[in-house]
């Protein structure tokens, strides 16, 4: 089985353990990267920095301490100490899926993989699970056991309630004080202006922001051939929808995506549209590219 194949969400859905999923994704992904000249990634030594209380004593370079009687920590190439904060949308709409994988599962795989990758790069990784408000908050940390905590929080996240990205991001901004990388994984069914307002506090504090916009292929192209009655998973509202309304839907969704992309650009944030039928590597590439730029 190739690495790319292992990044396919429908394949990952057959793996029961999220830990194993994350490991499979990241290792498969990294294997692919070794064959790619586009991205450089290594664990080569970069510099020393003085120890500050709270640093993990495992990274103290005891040889330097023996020679100089000073406590220094070893730092490697690419390591920026940029914390990764995953903002995970657990609203009801994330439970939609026209294929074997729902948006929630896809987002869960993605968040787990990012967390796995971050932890293994010695980046503090944290998690905020939200819907219309913050439900779970795991502060970014490099301590031992952080990854299982994150994965457990992700596994317990279930789609429920409505979504309110603005409110959730405002709440998250208050929780995160350390500058770092904020990755928002959501289907962003909020007006772009609300999302823009929500992004302002994060970008204003110097966070690097990546928006992972997760959508099901049926949402991107509803292939309705006859009128159907749709039920909104968040509000429970019913709506008669016919083929004639699909074209209008596509246009409005396209406008919404463009607006999000423009808003992200205006805030110096990155925007990544993810199709749940596609492999996860695009998202991971975006993370690494952003991390490299941040470092």
């Amino acid at each position: 089985m190739s690495g790319t194949r292992l990044l396919d969400a429908s394949v990952l859905a057959q793996i029961s353990s999220l830990d194993l999923v994350a490991k499979t994704v990241v290792e498969g992904f990294l294997t692919g990267l070794h064959r790619s000249p586009a991205f450089g990634f290594s664990q080569e030594f970069a510099e020393y920095r003085p120890y500050t209380p709270g640093d993990d004593p495992r990274f103290v370079d005891w040889n330097v301490y023996a020679r100089t009687d000073r406590v220094y920590l070893k730092q490697y190439q690419g390591e920026t100490n940029a914390a990764l904060l995953l903002l995970f949308d657990a609203s009801a709409s994330m439970g939609y899926g026209s294929g074997p994988v729902t948006k929630m599962e896809y987002a869960r795989f993605l968040a787990a993989s990012l967390a796995y990758l971050a932890v293994h790069q010695r980046d503090p990784a944290g998690l905020v699970v939200f819907d219309e408000e913050v439900r779970v908050f795991v502060p970014p940390s490099l301590r031992h056991g952080q990854l299982p905590t994150l994965l457990a929080a992700l596994e317990h996240a279930q789609p429920s309630r409505r979504t309110d990205v603005e409110r959730a991001l405002n709440g998250a901004a208050r929780l995160v004080r350390r500058r770092g990388l904020v990755a928002v994984v959501s289907d962003f069914y909020d007006p772009p202006e609300h999302i823009l307002r929500a992004l302002a506090p994060l970008t204003g504090r110097g966070h690097d922001l990546v928006l992972f916009h997760v959508l099901d292929p049926a949402e991107l192209d509803p292939g309705l051939r006859e009128p159907v009655r749709l039920e909104d998973m968040e509000t429970g509202r019913h709506l008669e929808v016919g083929p004639r309304q699909v074209a209008e839907y596509r246009a409005r969704l396209r406008d919404h995506i463009d607006a999000l992309r423009r808003a992200a650009g205006d805030r110096r944030a990155d925007y990544q549209l993810l199709d749940t039928s596609k492999p996860l590597d695009a998202a991971l590439r975006e993370y690494l590219r952003r991390r490299e730029r941040t470092g």
Partner: protein, 658 residues
């Protein structure tokens, strides 16, 4: 509506299939989840309603399709009567009187205008039918909603010389109503003659639920004179003059003097002025009328003519004949029988018949055509030539009397007699005869024949309807034997006093005279006939001999086929008809029915009672003929099915594209 095979209606259970399929479709449409409806604009309400409407129309089409299919297999039929009873459409019968009295003044023109006005005033949804009555009732066509189509038929109608009968009209209406329970409206366009009412008022009864509307087109004042009857000897033998008594009648007339003139063969044979009392009768006698030999056409005319001129003329035929020659074929041993027969003819019909007796051998060379009929007395096997000529003689329209006696008993057969004749042998106790339905050949002798004692006779197998006189044991004594166009009588016991004593009984003379008149066709005296009567052209006419009937206008009354096979002709006009048979031509005088001359109208009370007969509830006649009233409506259901299939296919295709 009922069904021939109702168990096929179980197929209606298939209606659940489209209901189930449509229900599934509805449910799947309602329950389809979607992440967010943010980017869907709510559909316009009319679109949703239209879709729902389409949904129900399509479902209804499919349900109807399956239901019609099940109904079609069940073979539906309706009771035509009840189906029509439920509808508001009325069947209008426009009955137009074409009897002789309608020729009075402007009555007929008023009748045509009235009929057209009635038809023009009918509703479009109703059906109409035109009847003409007098003589009989003629239905001019089937009921139709196109009331204007009757215009030509009404214009083509003409007055006849026949009599109208409201009884016949009511009977026809009852017949027409038997298979149609729609409300009937009878429009009677007539002069409402009192004489057209039948003797029994019950015969006027209209079907229940029938509305009778009377259109009286008769003149307000209707005085009318007519020649009511002519009496006297119309057939003359010998050289004596004729005498006629003519009766004049006036209906609603004032006392007046009428001039009456008699013409015989176109020549004036007498004239008289007669005082006719008010609304009364007068008789005028014409004596010493010189009548030439043969048939003479006589015409009696009353002047001045009134508004109904056709009954001011009376046609009558006068016939003067020589003695009719009768050929009596016998063996020399039967001279006594000849004596009895000759004596009987001379005593009862003096001068009418002239008997010539010959042996069979001598008869072979005689010119048979000059004889009125032939008596073949106990000749079992006539010479071949005579047998052949006699057969042609009878088949050509003449007649013969075959008398069976000892000779026939020995041979057990008689000329032209079907089957064998078996000798009964001498009987110790004689049998008596009876003639319960004696024909004209037994006129005057029917009851008296019971006094005759028959000791011996010949048995023959004969259909009942041909037997005129039977013996006490049921054996036929006198019967008819069909043979071509002629008349053949068979007597199974001779009249020579050896086998019976009939020649010595009083019934023998009238039998001899009546049978001779019948065989010679002199029984049909030239009595004037009436317009509308049916003239019987004679039994055996269908055996190939043709007959030609010339009406008073000189035209053939029978078509080519009818002249060969037709047995009867309706006398439709007043005047003289000529009936031409091979070797025999007769004439008949025909006059209008005298009852038509009485133009007095019906009383209002009688009309009201007649109208009341149709006011009963119409329920009774719906079941007059249930089998006949059953109407299969499968073809109609099939058309509906085809239409629904087309609609369903069209809608389904359009909705799928939409």
């Amino acid at each position: 509506m009922s069904f021939l095979y109702p168990w096929f209606l179980l197929g209606l259970a298939a209606l659940a299939l489209p209901l189930w399929l449509h229900r599934l479709e509805r449910q799947s449409a309602e329950r389809r989840p979607w992440s967010s409806l943010t980017f869907f604009r709510e559909a316009p309400q009319e679109s949703v309603r239209r879709r729902r409407y389409r949904y129900f129309v399509l479902l209804a089409c499919r349900l109807l399709l399956l239901a019609l299919l099940a109904v079609l297999f069940a073979r539906p039929f309706v009771d035509a009567g009840s189906a029509l009873a439920g509808s508001a459409a009325t069947r209008h019968l426009v009955a137009i009187d074409t009897s002789h009295s309608m020729a009075h003044g402007e009555t007929w023109a008023r009748a045509q205008r009235a009929a057209e006005a009635v038809l023009a005033g009918l509703r479009g949804g109703d059906r109409s039918q035109v009847l003409a009555f007098g003589p009989g009732v003629r239905v001019l066509g089937g009921p139709t909603s196109d009331h204007g189509s009757w215009r030509g038929a009404v214009e083509a109608l003409a007055v006849t010389g026949a009599r109208a009968s409201y009884g016949e009209l009511s009977e026809a209406v009852r017949t027409l109503a038997a298979d149609d329970a729609a409300p009937l409206h009878l429009h009677l366009v007539s002069d409402l003659q009192r004489s057209a009412v039948p003797a029994r008022f019950a015969d006027l009864a209209l079907p229940a639920g029938t509305e009778l509307e009377v259109h009286d087109v008769g003149a307000p004042s209707r005085p009318n004179w007519c020649l009511e009857s002519v009496k006297g000897r119309l057939r003359l033998h010998g050289d004596g003059p004729a005498e006629l008594h003519v009766t004049l009648a006036g209906f609603d007339t004032a006392a007046a003097v009428r001039h009456v003139e008699l013409r015989v063969g176109g020549r004036v044979a007498g004239a008289a002025d007669v005082n006719v009392p008010a609304a009364g009768r007068a008789v005028v006698r014409f004596g010493e009328i010189a009548v030439p030999r043969g048939y003479s056409r006589a015409e009696i005319r009353m002047t001045p003519a009134d508004d109904l001129p056709a009954d001011d003329v009376f046609f009558v035929g006068l016939e003067r004949t020589d003695s009719a020659p009768v050929l009596f074929v016998r063996t020399p041993a039967d001279a006594r029988a000849e004596l009895y027969y000759r004596t009987a003819l001379l005593s009862s019909a003096a001068g009418m018949f002239e008997l010539q007796a010959v042996t069979p051998e001598a008869a072979q060379t005689l010119a048979l055509e000059r004889f009125a009929f032939v008596v073949l007395y106990d000749i079992a096997r006539p010479p071949a030539l005579l047998e052949s000529r006699l057969r042609g003689f009878v088949e050509g329209g003449r007649a013969a009397l075959v008398v069976a006696g000892p000779q026939v008993a020995r041979q057990k057969s008689a000329p032209w007699v079907t089957g064998s004749m078996v000798d009964s042998g001498p009987r110790e106790r004689p049998l008596h005869a009876s003639a319960p339905s004696a024909g004209p050949m037994m006129a005057g002798a029917g009851e008296r024949v019971a006094d005759v004692r028959f000791h011996r006779y010949l048995r023959a197998e004969v259909p009942d309807d041909l037997v005129h006189v039977r013996l006490a044991d049921g054996a036929p004594l006198l019967y008819e034997q069909p043979l071509g166009a002629g008349r053949l009588l068979v007597l199974t016991s001779p009249f020579d006093t050896r086998w019976n004593d009939w020649p010595l009984q009083v019934s023998f003379v009238p039998f001899a005279a009546a049978s001779a008149r019948w065989l010679a066709r002199l029984d049909a005296a030239p009595v004037p006939l009436t317009v509308g009567e049916v003239l019987d052209l004679g039994a055996g006419h269908d055996r190939g001999s043709s007959v030609e009937v010339i009406d008073p206008d000189g035209r053939r009354a029978l078509g080519l086929a009818e002249s060969v096979s037709g047995r009867r002709v309706t006398l439709a006009r007043a005047g003289f008809y000529e009936i031409r048979r091979p070797g025999l031509t007769t004439q008949a005088a025909v006059n209008p029915d005298v009852r038509e001359s009485d133009l007095r109208p019906l009383e209002a009370e009688t009309i009201a009672r007649w109208q009341a007969t149709g006011h009963a509830a119409p329920a009774a006649r719906a079941n007059a003929d249930p089998e006949r009233s059953k109407r299969d409506i499968s073809p109609r259901v099939l058309w509906w099915l085809v239409a629904v299939v087309l609609v369903e296919s069209t809608l389904a295709n359009r909705y799928r594209r939409g």
